[in-house]
């Protein structure tokens, strides 16, 4: 095995491959940072340029673009508060809060270091334990997925800020939204009012942009009536360099727990980055020494979410390379890339083309390192935007939101949905109801419902299937614990009402 790695390093470090990684990484950063171009679309656009390249150069470029896209998405989340993917919601909540306090550079540093570490950690795990993780992932059937989504939903208790009741109110609203659209088991239509607008359900990216970004601008738009607010301003990257002690304080959270959650959950097809980042975020909130900071710029929450989010790339690639199963949209594009170069991703690839597989491992490792440098250079330009007066800045953000929501499906319908959710989010914020639980429930509610009904189909209606299998039993117990625990910790359940 080791001589494969030495060969792979020798090939990946050829000048043309390094160039490919740098260009791919830059392209990915750009695609991820621009709302309207998702990471997977960025990879598709790049795909046509790789036809004539040698396979390994092509994969260096694509892998770098994949990692770059995930990193780039977080830049937009932190600076503009626009989440590009559901997995970026914790980043928007904590990172953007830090940016609004004038610590954009600090938030970017923390996100960058944690996410690159998460990425590298997962690649290293992938290098030594690919078959192990793939086999573990296969143990997850519908009952296990159900338990996992419930564990994800239990994070609500940590996201609720002051009042658990309001948190659950928001959560149930999200669960209701998740029922809209075509029913995934019977194909029936629910709450669609005979329009095609809602037939596909509520797209969570549109809803998310509305609830988080648009509603915030509506809130901020009230300000000029009171007093003129200038630009947020920022301190430079150098001045905001995080201290080492920050990482020493959070070593377990960042170094071990979050990347493990990310790698394992990322390997599950159909769960992936979203559950990974929320679970790690929730764990951080539960064990944090300053839980009251969550929702207002908690550094440890941002670290955990970013670390786990990026670690899911390794998990996702693991299942792709060992079994040929795409865990996310972007890895599905990778399958196309394999086929263009005359390979079928699957279990045979590791023995038939070890050069490619080990090359991809090495390329992922190196592109994470290159991205660290590239992003630090790119961030300066993004930071300059914070000099704009907020009135101009927010107008630009609305434009980006519109472009992003429209770009999802080239559909004006999504814009209506986005603005409707902007208004809903505005009202929720006015009543101090946290929006994050609603988004979490919208994303996970659908998965939870389908997983439960699939399980019941498998057991012919016997609900014991949900608790009788070891993995799901453990996960459900953890979920119950995480919902009940805060009740004992904070006996004043009705606090804040």
């Amino acid at each position: 095995m080791w001589e494969h790695y030495w060969n792979a390093f020798a090939i990946v470090l050829l000048p043309q491959n390094i160039l490919a990684m740098v260009l791919g990484g830059l392209w990915g950063l750009l695609a991820g940072a621009l709302p309207g171009i998702s990471t997977s679309m960025g990879v598709v656009l790049l795909l046509s340029f790789t036809y004539t390249m040698s396979p390994i150069t092509a994969f260096c470029m694509l892998v770098a673009a994949y990692c770059g896209g995930i990193t780039g998405g977080s830049i937009t989340s932190i600076l503009f508060g626009i989440p590009g993917e559901p997995s970026a919601v914790p980043t928007v909540i904590e990172g953007h809060a830090l940016a609004k306090q004038g610590h954009a550079a600090s938030a970017l540093w923390i996100f960058l270091l944690s996410s690159i570490y998460g990425g590298i950690f997962s690649v290293l795990v992938m290098m030594v334990a690919t078959p192990l993780i793939a086999n573990f992932a296969l143990k997850f059937g519908p009952p296990e997925y159900f338990a996992l989504t419930i564990l994800g939903l239990s994070v609500v208790s940590s996201l609720s800020g002051g009042s658990l009741l309001k948190g659950f109110l928001s959560c149930f609203f999200g669960l209701f939204l998740a029922t809209i659209g075509t029913d995934g088991i019977t194909g029936g239509e629910r709450f669609t009012f005979d329009t095609t607008l809602l037939l596909g359900g509520i797209n969570f990216v549109t809803a998310m942009v509305g609830l988080l970004a648009v509603s915030e601008i509506l809130i901020e738009a009230e300000e000029p009536f009171k007093e003129y607010k200038g630009h947020v301003g920022y301190r430079g990257m150098r001045a905001e360099m995080p201290e080492f002690s920050l990482y020493r304080k959070n070593w377990f959270n960042v170094m071990i727990r979050s990347p493990i959650i990310g790698t394992v959950v990322g390997a599950l097809p159909g769960a992936g980055a979203t559950i990974a980042s929320f679970l790690a975020y929730g764990e951080a909130a539960r064990t944090s020494k300053e839980p009251e900071k969550f929702g207002h710029g908690a550094v440890d929450g941002l670290m955990a979410a970013e670390c786990s989010n990026n670690a899911s790339t390794g998990g996702s690639m693991t299942i792709l390379l060992s079994l040929g199963l795409p865990g996310s949209n972007t890895t599905a594009m990778m399958i196309a890339a394999f086929m263009i170069h005359g390979m079928q991703p699957g279990p045979m690839l590791l023995s038939s083309r070890p050069d490619i597989i080990y090359g991809i491992f090495v390329a992922m490792l190196l592109s994470n390192l290159f991205l660290l440098v590239l992003t630090i250079m790119a961030i300066r330009f993004f930071l300059e935007l914070n000099r704009l007066p907020y009135s101009v800045f927010s107008a630009a953000i609305i434009v980006l939101c519109v472009v992003g929501a429209f770009g999802l499906q080239n559909s004006v319908d999504d814009l209506f949905v986005m603005f409707a959710f902007g208004l809903i989010g505005y009202v929720m914020r006015k009543f101090d109801i946290p929006v994050a639980p609603a988004i979490l429930a919208l994303v996970l509610g659908d998965m939870a419902e389908l997983a439960m009904r699939r399980s019941l189909l498998l057991s012919l209606g016997d609900p014991l299937i949900l608790v009788s299998r070891p993995i799901s039993a453990v996960l459900l117990a953890a979920a119950v614990f995480s919902i009940v625990y805060p009740l004992f910790k904070k006996p004043k359940l009705l606090q804040g009402l």
Partner: protein, 324 residues
Amino acid sequence: MKTTKIFVMAFLFLVGCVMGISTSAAAAYPDRAIEIIVPFGVGGGSDTAARAVAEGLKPLLKVPLVITNMPGGGATKGMLYVAQQPADGYEVLAITTSHLIDAVKPKTRAQLLRDFDPIMRIQWDTSAVTISGDSKFKTLADLIEYGKKNPKMLKFAGTSPGGWSEIQTVAFFKAVGVVVTFVPFDSGAEIKAAIMGGHIHGAVEELAETLPLIEAGKLKSLAVIMEKRHPALPNVPCSAELGINYTHGLMRAWGVKKGTPPDRIKYLHDVIKKALDVPVYKKFVQDNHLYARQGYLGPEETRKYWDDEVKFFTEVLKDLGYVK
């Protein structure tokens, strides 16, 4: 004054020229970009298939070719859009079996058989009955025997409830006299993981996607659903040789709005047919194992094929209780 007059006359002259050009060119179809509406998202099966055809088509056309993805409403949104455009042959819809199923009980104001004319059928895919590599069932007969003894105990996965995936699973097993439980999943990847993990018995799915896992022994195919054996799996029996009267498969076709002038349909038909012979498209066919049976059908045959399939789907959907 005089300059103004000259100016006006020059302007009118120019307008005349431009209009003259456009009317004379309108006779020669096509004179502007042709748009292919793919009613699915970027990167899906229909999208990559349409792009492969378009790749071969572009050099043969004098006008630009634009692919627009219009996902939503279970593939009906794009269809409705084309149905609302003028019938001038500039909007082409990428049609799949899901539109034929929608024709049984239309979700929108558009109905495929009523509102569209086929240009041609392009692909006809092959499905296979696939189970886990270490499953106790060795042949299709074992599986059928178990299924007959234990109605509903065989659990088969698929993707679209009430859609092609459920229809082909349930209809195939009905043809052999077995009642299965259909469990819908969100994606092919999840289905394959569930089969390999032993959570579900198997799936009736398009063969190409599962081939690498079959070759690796993680999955095995008990039968391909076709008139003859599939060249990629010469050791696996086909449904016809097992005496099962069921050979339906996923089809992809291109069509235009009903009322498009026949000469324009013929033009499109001829040029697309040529595009199916270029190397780019042939490689696509090879990679996706679409060579096993002929995909191409002319416009008339395609219409007949559509009519037959819709009749078949109507019956299956009645059985399943989706339509009354």
